[in-house]
């Protein structure tokens, strides 16, 4: 490589294009420095600084919504900046912001150092933001591993409790397994795309576009098919789709509540963004739709059925929300399947993700307030009488759960409606039938939870003294304001999709 080539390659590294990620990563380092420099009595400021930094990055992102790099590739094709990338950046920043909020409530009850939590959270968020803009398998792998390893730490963060550590170990084994499958898939695709004996082979085999071109020229290569199946399996692990959902209930239960929320929302969002980048309308896997679509269709149907049926029998609310999250992954997969035949499907998936974010964080916010020191043992029974003790929390819970269940006119209903319309346009009738059945089942367990919070007077007075309910945390004004905003946003987004709908090109 001559000096001139090095200069050209360096000129392509537009650092300003990844300014939000750089800010988050620097902020993460600043937090660690602050922990050393600040006197101990001021350490309470650090979570505030982290939240303020995320909020500032989010505002900066909105102010510079159309950067000059939009629509171009930077870093020698490693990254591609698109409107979708901007939307998902905002999505992850919002998720991180609400996770910070939950962490302040939950970690306050645990004898744990706090600073590292925010540090790792910021790094993971930056990795997710890079992941959704990846245009090259190298970038995909490195970003995915950065976020996964960060999540191992976060899941096992309450290291004095066995539940959190066990959840961490299970997540570690499952995550590493899925990384192995994904990596082997990438390697096979790389090897076959670079093979000089095949037509349209490429010297830049890990670039999405080059790979897509090669696959168009070789529509039935065995090694390429195997590679695609392995990559899909790796991504399916991350989103918790059937049959790779085994880790979900245990990890969701054991992880600290803010991390469970982050896993459910942000990690799932990242997985679906990757899936859409690979299998979506312009993705490199499109020439292999004969292989990809049947797999995704079967996966979507099985995921919806499994998630909803398994959630029916749960009494632990974290397991319940985990398994219902599996069902939501199934509905989102339905949208991905529909993307082949409907122009609005991609937008519908992103809208669903936003509705899911609002509703989930509303519910997790209530869970963080109701839970006691035993973070893994949050039972449905603890919600008895919530409407009397705290009408505000009970209302937020009802709105959040209603939106998750898809009750009109909440945002979750619109999300499901858009996905179902897209699936109808794409002609996935059988899958729609399964999805509709899934929605009905989901209403049963979501309303069981709402019933526990509101209608305790209807249950006969328990003779056996139930294990004492945890004391819970009173609602602070920041948390109250945020939860109120989340609930209100879930309602408003159901009536008026406005600018969000325009970004997502729903119409």
């Amino acid at each position: 490589m001559t000096l001139e080539e090095v200069r050209l390659a360096a000129a392509d590294n537009l650092w300003s294009a990844i300014a939000p990620e750089l800010i988050l990563a620097s902020l993460a380092l600043v937090l660690l420095v602050l922990e050393m420099v600040l006197p101990k009595r001021h350490h309470g400021l650090i979570p505030d600084i982290a939240s303020a930094g995320i909020l500032g990055t989010l505002l900066g992102l909105f102010l510079n919504w159309h950067p000059v790099t939009l629509g171009t590739e930077t870093f020698s094709g490693l990254l591609q900046h698109s409107v979708t990338g901007q939307v998902m950046r905002a999505f992850f920043l919002l998720a991180a912001l609400f996770t910070c909020l939950l962490a302040r409530i939950t970690l306050a009850r645990q004898p744990m150092p706090r600073v590292e939590f925010y540090h790792v959270l910021l790094v993971v968020t930056a990795a997710m933001m890079l992941l959704v803009q990846a245009n090259h398998f190298l970038m995909l792998f490195v970003a995915l591993e950065t976020l996964t390893i960060g999540l191992y730490i976060l899941v096992s963060y309450l290291r004095t409790t066995t539940a959190s550590l066990e959840a961490g170990l299970k997540y570690l084994v499952m995550g590493a397994l899925s990384s192995g499958l994904l990596l082997f898939g990438i390697v096979l695709l790389y090897g076959v795309t670079g093979n000089p004996a095949l037509p349209l082979h490429s010297g830049n085999a890990m670039h999405y576009e080059e790979l897509g071109l090669f696959l168009t020229g070789n529509p039935d290569n065995f090694l390429a098919s195997l590679g695609i199946v392995l990559v899909l399996a790796g991504v399916a692990f991350k989103i918790g789709a059937f049959p790779f959902q085994v880790w979900v209930p245990d990890v969701y239960q054991g992880a600290p509540t803010p991390v469970t929320a982050f896993l459910a929302v942000a990690s799932k969002g990242a997985g679906f963004a990757v899936l859409l980048a690979l299998c979506g309308p312009q993705g490199p896997f499109t020439p292999y739709a004969w292989l990809v679509m049947p797999i995704l269709t079967a996966m979507a149907g099985a995921t919806i059925l499994f998630g909803n049926i398994a959630a029916l029998t749960q009494h632990n609310v974290k397991r319940l929300i985990g398994l219902s999250g599996v069902a939501h992954a199934g509905f989102l997969l339905l949208g991905v399947v529909a993307a082949a035949g409907s122009p609005m499907a991609v937008g519908a998936v992103y809208f669903y993700l936003f509705a899911y974010l609002l509703a989930s964080f509303a519910v997790f916010g209530v869970m963080a307030h109701v839970a006691g020191t035993d973070d893994a043992g949050q039972e449905l029974d603890h919600y008895a009488g919530l409407s009397r003790q705290s009408p505000f929390l009970a209302t937020v819970l009802a709105v959040g759960l209603g939106s998750l269940a898809g009750i009109p006119p909440l945002a979750g209903f619109m999300g499901k409606l858009f996905v179902f319309i897209a699936a109808f346009q794409a002609g996935a009738r059988w899958l729609l039938l399964i999805a509709a059945a899934g929605v009905v089942v989901s209403i049963y367990y979501y309303f069981g939870w709402i019933k526990a919070a509101f209608f305790d007077a209807w249950t006969p007075p328990a003779e056996t003294t139930a294990p004492a309910k945890p004391a819970g945390t009173p609602v602070g004004w920041v948390a109250g304001l945020s939860l109120g905003t989340l609930a209100l946003a879930s309602i408003v987004l159901g009536f008026y999709q406005g600018p969000l709908g325009q970004w997502l090109m729903l119409w």
Binding site: F141, I149, L169, G191, N204
Partner: protein, 102 residues
């Protein structure tokens, strides 16, 4: 002199990968499971280097450095979790780690 061709390398790599995968699914000791996970990464690395050499492209070799770094980070975090868990439970057998049950 007999030089191995691409298929020999791939065969070894697939074998290593299969051994690793089987180990993760079958073995009950967390440390052995962890070693098997690393074996899967190494198998992918071997295939990557072989492809890189026979295709005449360098990015495979560069990718290997990233994989090694990631594997090292994973081991650091993983062993820390296993040690912390062992201190609390005095066991790392997969069957006995059953706190999280419905």
């Amino acid at each position: 002199m007999l030089t191995p061709d691409l298929n020999s390398y791939l065969l070894i790599s697939v074998l290593l990968f299969a051994i690793g995968l089987a180990g993760v699914l079958i073995r009950r000791n967390t440390l052995v499971v962890f070693m098997c996970l690393e074996l899967m990464l190494v198998a992918a690395t071997l295939a990557l280097v072989a492809f890189s050499r026979f295709n005449g492209t360098m990015d495979g070799n560069v990718f290997v450095f990233f994989i090694l770094t990631v594997a090292a980070a994973e081991v650091a975090v993983g062993l820390a979790i296993i040690v912390a868990l062992f201190r609390r439970r005095m066991t790392i057998q997969v069957d006995e780690l059953n706190t999280l049950k419905n």
